[in-house]
């Protein structure tokens, strides 16, 4: 009998290792996740603040990201309130960034020559960060696996030089690589541990917290306190601690939003308040950079 040799499937953690190694070789500072709740890798100060000002900067890191409204109690195969992004930020954007990106796909087992890789227009905007960029979502055989953005503005300030941000949705990417229909079936490591083993309980419990149990009266108060603290720290011109408080504000707002206690009109107002905080922090940061 002839046995076909089956290529080993890349586990979730190996995918992360490979990306880290790849971008490390490209000269990036490999950071660890930021230790606060954030909505996306972009919120990490290594991206938001470091993309401002004239100094060159290259980094890559995994960032756990929380989107309370996307929770589905672990019932939906494609949606999570907590997931991982792999984030790369390079300033100024290098000439060969597309080549670098496509080769990074090869490093995790996707041969770009065998798949329909498409750069589909997707301009990005973050109202809370006062940020905007132009770029694409990258499709691999119709599935969105990466966001690819040239920052034009951050914290209300025009970016000069321009940074490029590459954000891989790790779960999606691995579902593609491992050919899985449900995120919970992803193979986490070579010992057979699955994504479900690691995160299903947490999805269930946090969905309950985000949608049902979070104490909204307290959260409204906490928001006010954090906002006040941010403003105070901005006055003291210490941008990094100020930014931490602002990130907390943003997360509190996201939970309140998931609890459905913020009306449409209020929503815009809260977003504007957070944006004002980010802007004032950005200003202090830039002053410290020149």
């Amino acid at each position: 009998m002839v046995y076909k040799t089956k290529k080993k499937t890349l586990s979730f953690q190996d995918t992360i290792f490979n990306l880290q190694k790849y971008w490390s070789k490209k000269g990036c500072v490999i950071l660890q996740p930021y230790d606060l709740e954030v909505g996306a890798g972009t919120f990490h100060p290594a991206t938001t603040l470091r993309s401002l000002g004239p100094k060159p900067w290259k980094t890559a890191y995994v960032q756990p990201s929380r989107r309370p409204t996307d929770g589905r109690y672990g019932d939906n195969p494609n949606r999570l309130q907590h997931y991982y992004q792999f984030q790369v930020l390079i300033k100024p954007s290098p000439k060969e960034i597309k080549k670098m990106y496509l080769n990074s796909l090869s490093s995790i087992g996707i041969n770009y020559e065998e798949h329909d890789i498409r750069f589909v227009e997707d301009d990005w905007e973050s109202p809370t960060l006062g940020a905007a960029g132009l770029g694409w979502e990258v499709w691999c055989d119709g599935m969105e696996v990466t966001q690819f953005t040239y920052f034009q503005q951050m914290a209300g300030v025009e970016c000069k030089p321009v940074s490029v941000e590459i954000t891989y949705g790790l779960e999606r990417l691995c579902m593609f690589i491992q050919n899985k229909k449900s995120v919970f079936d992803l193979i986490w490591n070579d010992e057979g541990i699955t994504y479900k083993d690691v995160f299903h309980k947490s999805e269930k419990e946090f969905s309950a917290y985000n949608f049902e149990y979070a104490n909204t009266d307290n959260l409204f108060k906490i928001f006010e306190m954090l906002e006040e603290e941010t403003k105070l720290l901005v006055e003291k011109k210490i941008s990094l601690p100020a930014y931490d408080q602002c990130l907390k504000c943003s997360h509190v707002f996201n939970i309140l939003d998931a609890r459905g206690v913020i009306s449409v009109a209020q929503r815009a107002e809260y977003i504007a308040r957070i944006r004002e905080l980010t802007k004032s922090i950005g200003k202090v940061w830039i002053e410290s950079q020149s």
């Binding site: 195969p77 494609n78 100024p92 496509l102 798949h115 890789i117 599935m143 040239y150 009109a265």
Partner: protein, 687 residues
């Protein structure tokens, strides 16, 4: 004769920007050739792929001759420095400067000898500026550079007469090379002419010409659908987008699990089209099938592309199905109360407030339409509930349609379901128009409520900005009325809408809203008529002093006159009117205080009497016609005054010595014009 060939290589430029850049480049280069009087093959083209913007023009002379010309310099009395500057800028010497008198005084002149200029020199000098003139709807910067472009520009290849053109565009030096591998931006290769360039890429399966790509995609699709007995919808916008996001199109037919066909087809179609750029297919009965087309940018030799796309659509449809199953059973009526939590617009209350107003309004409209008040009130009450569903959250473009499906599933009356489904229609000039009375009533009340509300909080569109698409709303209102021949009292409805707002405690300036909104809607009617290719003077006449309740009349009258203006009934009507009004206009009006009628006792002859009688006959006609005026008949009657008018003007001198007689004759002509006003004011019509 030579060819100009330019390629701008960049990272992937989005479809819409590409199309715009092609047009811009084409226009700018054409203007350059015309301005410089260089002959060129006007039948040239600009091509693009996501990464390449390519210009190719042939039949260009290598040199152009410039005739001798006299160039005027400074005035002889100007300071010496001006003369020095003039000499310097023309690269000449004082000896060659001469003085000459002109109408404006004596000036220094310089005679430029006839000379030849190389077109390649001109191009090298100007190409950078031509490229700068390309305007992008959206552009970006990258790295440390200052250049704005659709996406990062990497290289410029520029050839004239098989030789490279050398110029600098911001940080980029032009050359005769380009990257043949668009993915890795590698494989630099020299090209000296357009043909070898096209050939090279064709061998790799890459089609630079977008029209060719479109043809190939369409042929392939047609081949498959003919074999499988399927149909695809002609969706030019989607096809054009697909054509411009691939360079070597490969059409792949895929399918999804048939079980998803139980989900309303609009949801499936939107998922495929707007989210994934797939082309859905239909069977002979126009029912959606589970086959769809993917246009891939590579040949799917290993079947990965088909597999991947089928997996993506399954995940997406799973999501849609999940939401559909969840939402369809959520009781619409029970959810109405929750609309209180959803803001309609800042300053205009919640959606709950809005549907209360819409209910009052649609119920009033139902009286005019002779439709069931109960049914239209139900439709109004439930029509916005779908805004709270997950499905509309996922597919905002399906608002209304999704609500219609919920209503159908929950057993609401057929007409109610359709009205909910069509409440946002029409949406502008081109969109589908609802035809059923319930749908029209609901759509009208939705639009009126919005228009009154936005005018109430003073968010009227300005000449350049219309962020809430209020113009489109008003155009849609006009279409609902004129195209459906809807007989409503718009003025009353606006007043009533204002009062519905006031009942909810809004402090609106009703009078102001009525006036401004009235002008605004009539202005939209004018635009509408213009789109329908009605003559401008007819538009002006039909809308002169127009009341809001007469939109339909104005529309029909202008249509009728537009059609007949070159025919006898139109032509003679206008002639009769013009002959009379011209005299009235030339006579000094100051001395003339019109009574509004002529005195038959003062008539001196039969011509006056006959004209008087005819005018009265026409007046009787207009008095007798009710709501069902036949406008062609009216024109015919007006034109029938031709003989009486001609006889009058041929035989009667209006300007009689006796001022009383003269005045009476002017009164008679004034009567004629006033009678004609029953159709509309013809004074603005250009004969």
């Amino acid at each position: 004769m030579s060819e100009l060939f330019v390629e701008l290589f960049s990272e992937e430029i989005p479809a819409k920007l590409q199309i715009n850049a092609r047009n811009e480049l084409k226009k700018n280069i054409k203007n350059f050739f015309i301005d410089n009087q260089i002959k060129f093959n006007e039948d040239f083209n600009v091509y693009s792929t996501p990464n390449r913007l390519v210009l190719h023009i042939d039949k260009i002379p290598n040199e152009i001759k410039l005739n001798s010309e006299e160039i005027r310099g400074p005035n002889v009395n100007a300071p010496e420095k001006a003369l020095e500057g003039f000499i310097r800028s023309n690269n000449t010497t004082l000896e060659k400067i001469f003085k000459k008198s002109t109408e404006k005084g004596e000036f220094y002149f310089f005679k430029k000898e006839p000379r030849k200029i190389k077109v390649s020199d001109l191009l090298e000098k100007n190409l950078s500026e031509i490229l700068t003139k390309i305007t992008w709807n959206k552009s970006m910067k990258w790295a440390n550079y200052d250049l704005y472009w659709g996406r990062p520009l990497k290289s410029i290849l520029a050839i004239f007469n098989k030789k490279p053109l050398n110029f600098v565009f911001n940080h980029i030096n032009s050359s005769n090379k380009t990257f043949t591998d668009k993915s890795l931006e590698e494989g630099l290769k020299i090209f000296n002419d357009f043909n070898s360039y096209i050939k090279f890429f064709k061998q790799k399966g890459i089609l630079i010409d977008q029209d060719l790509r479109k043809k190939i995609i369409q042929n392939k699709i047609n081949e498959i659908i003919n074999k499988k007995n399927l149909k695809v919808e002609q969706n030019e916008r989607l096809i054009d987008e697909i054509v411009n996001i691939v360079e070597k199109p490969a059409v792949i037919i895929c399918d999804f699990d048939k079980k998803f066909l139980n989900v309303p087809s609009e949801i499936l179609i939107t998922t495929m089209q707007s989210h994934q750029k797939y082309l859905p297919t239909f069977d002979e009965k126009n029912n959606l099938t589970n086959n769809f087309f993917v246009v891939s940018d590579i040949k799917d030799t290993k079947g990965f592309v088909k597999l991947g796309n089928e997996r993506v659509i399954e995940a997406r449809l799973n999501d849609a199905e999940f939401f559909w199953e969840k939402n369809k059973t959520q009781n619409l009526v029970k959810q109405v109360d929750k609309l209180k939590n959803i803001n309609y617009f800042k300053g205009l209350g919640s959606y709950f407030d809005k549907i209360q107003r819409m209910r009052k309004l649609s119920s009033l409209i139902s009286d005019d339409f002779l439709i069931s008040k109960d049914k239209i009130e139900i439709a109004s009450s439930i029509c916005k509930v779908d805004l709270m569903s997950d499905l509309v959250g996922e597919f905002p473009e399906l608002q209304g349609i999704v609500g219609g499906h919920f209503a159908k599933f929950q057993g609401f009356d057929k007409e109610v379901c359709l009205a909910v489904s069509e409440q946002y229609l029409p949406n502008g000039m081109e969109s589908k128009l609802p035809k059923k009375m319930y749908s029209i009533a609901l759509s009208l009340s939705d639009k009126l409520d919005s228009l009154v509300g936005f005018f109430g909080i003073n968010l009227k569109p300005t000449s350049s900005k219309d962020p809430y698409a209020i113009r489109r709303m008003a155009i849609s209102l006009v279409r609902l009325i004129v195209e459906n021949e809807t007989k409503i009292k718009l003025k009353d409805l606006i007043v009533y809408t204002c009062s519905a707002y006031r009942d909810q405690g809004y402090d609106f300036d009703t009078k102001k809203i009525q006036n401004e909104l009235s002008d605004f809607i009539i202005e939209r009617l004018k635009n509408y008529l213009k789109e329908k290719k009605i003559r401008q003077d007819i538009i002006e006449s039909s809308t002169f002093l127009l009341g809001l309740d007469d939109l339909l009349k104005a529309y029909k009258k202008s249509l009728c006159l537009n059609k007949n203006i070159k025919k006898e009934i139109g032509f003679e009507t206008i002639a009769a009117y013009k002959r009379s009004s011209n005299i009235l206009n030339t006579e000094e009006k100051i001395s003339m205080e019109t009574l509004g009628f002529a005195d038959p006792g003062l008539f001196k002859n039969d011509y006056e009497k006959k004209l008087y009688k005819k005018i009265n006959d026409i007046r009787k006609y207009f008095l007798s016609i009710g709501k069902d005026e036949n406008y062609e008949e009216s024109l015919k009657i007006l034109s029938s005054i031709k003989n009486e008018v001609n006889d009058f003007f041929d035989n009667v001198i209006v300007n009689d010595e006796d001022i009383i007689i003269k005045k009476n004759r002017l009164e008679l002509l004034n009567m004629l014009c006033k009678t004609f006003d029953n159709y509309f004011n013809f004074s603005k019509i250009e004969a």
